[in-house]
Amino acid sequence: MIWILSIMMVLGMPSVFAQHHHDDTQQKGEDWEEVIMEEEFKAGEMIIEHIVDAYEWHIISIGETHVTLPLPVILYDKGEWMVFSSSHFHHGHDSYKGYFISHHEMNSGKIVRLDESGAEIRPTLDMSFTKNVLAIFFSMTILVLVFVSVANTYKKRKGQAPKGLQSFLEPIILFVRDDIAKASIGEKNYEKYLPFLLTIFFFILLNNILGIIPFFPGGANVTGNIGVTGVLAAFTFIITTFSGNKNYWTHIFNAPGVPWWLKIPVPLMPVVELMGVFTKPFVLMVRLFANISAGHIIILGFISLIFIFGKMSAGLGYGVSVVSVGFSIFMDFLELLVAFIQAYVFTLLSALYFGMATEEHH
């Protein structure tokens, strides 16, 4: 429902919500284009702002006109639900119903309110439909549309050679099936895990690529968000844990071939192995998040250099821009490579964990 609502917002009411003129002299500008005009350019803040989640989707700023897509804020606090548009915050400058967007520490960029002592606290539940949520729904819609249509092509063209989108995706699907699932899990069990592996592979790949595209509806840093990677890793963890057979648990709690004094009286090995059960998905989560975010930070850093030097002198700015854009292009290609590699690595490691969990004793 909310998805449909947001589509309506995109299509029907951009002129109502999306454009805001405001007098820049009174407000402390948060949008970075504004920042350059007014005060010193804070590259670090700008970069973080671009890679974290947001309550609105900033599309473009032309002069002082910020074209943004406001998204619904959904809060549960003090025993009641609140739903309102993020446009009430006026790009983070205003507060609404006592809620405002924090600029401090851990909660920076998130909705907070002040408690009795004047400290910033988060509402009990912040279920806001943020930029990343919209990006997730967008990419999920693409995935469903693309793969259901490809599946229909398969049904329609039974026994025929692949064609169009189908022939583009088939080698990738076969790669995931043969080189990831079959190779890591084994001929016997791989089919059970294939839907999950294919889904995470294409979800990560699509969002990695969308993340590189700087324009709406790309540009949201979905796979560079620790919450998103955490959910993916949690799925892997849950599936691994639930498909673990006797052999798998034996290896954890009573690893064969290990001297007994490593297990009794101090269960050193079982503790280490049990930690491994949790560190594996944790590492999955951090690896994807760090790789994607790092790539974005580097590109944004190169772009920031132009503005930093541009502040010193216009000529220097132009000079640096050539080098910066060159490096950014290089980084974009690198990120494209990383997009594939990280999707591959996440899927491969998930498959390996499933393989470990279902491996038969031999």
Binding site: I48, I51, V52, D53, I74, E105, M106, N107, S108, G109, K110, L125, D126, M127, S128, F129, T130, N132, V133, I136, F137, M140, L143, V144, F147, V148, V150, A151, N152, Y154, K155, K158, G159, E170, I173, L174, R177, E191, L194, P195, F196, L198, T199, F203, N225, I226, G227, V228, G230, V231, L232, A234, F235, S293
Partner: protein
């Protein structure tokens, strides 16, 4: 440090969205795609095997054909050889026959010639004898016109014969 502070709402939304998409894709995309791929692979495998079989059959057929052709050729050669032999033997026989026939004809001709010649000789002999007798008759008639001479001659002849 908001970068490593996951938004709770985002986590919930992500879980819901991912769960739904996983379910939908598994049911409506991956299942048909996988079964179609499997089916196609099986059919390709089958076709390859069928092609291999067909090729083997073709090979066999070719070998058979070659064998047949070779046999036919051999047979033809044998027939030709036989025919040649027959031809030669016929000619030989014919020649021999002709030779014997010719020599037979010559022999009979020779015989006949001999026969004719003998007959002719006999006839000539008879003729000569008759002529001689006629001449002798005439001569005798001439010589024995008178009785006396006749008697003398008869006596002489009688004398000669009685002596024999």
């Amino acid at each position: 440090m908001s970068l490593i502070n996951p938004g709770f709402g985002l986590v919930i939304w992500m879980t819901i969205a991912f769960g739904i998409v996983l379910f939908v894709l598994a049911k409506y995309a991956w299942k048909p795609i996988m079964s179609a791929l499997k089916e196609r692979e099986a059919s390709i495998e089958e076709s390859l095997q069928a092609a291999e079989k067909a090729r083997e059959a073709m090979q066999d057929l070719k070998l058979d054909n070659e064998k047949l052709l070779r046999e036919a050729k051999d047979e033809r050669d044998a027939l030709l050889k036989e025919a040649r032999n027959i031809k030669e033997s016929i000619i030989e026989e014919a020649k021999e026959k002709a030779n014997t026939e010719a020599s037979n004809i010559i022999d009979s001709a020779k015989e006949r010639i001999e026969h004719e010649k003998n007959a002719a000789v006999v006839e000539i002999k008879n003729l000569i004898a008759q002529n001689a007798i006629a001449i002798a008759e005439k001569v005798l008639r001439d010589e024995l016109k008178d009785k006396k001479d006749q008697m003398d001659y008869i006596n002489k002849l009688l004398k000669e014969t009685s002596l024999n």
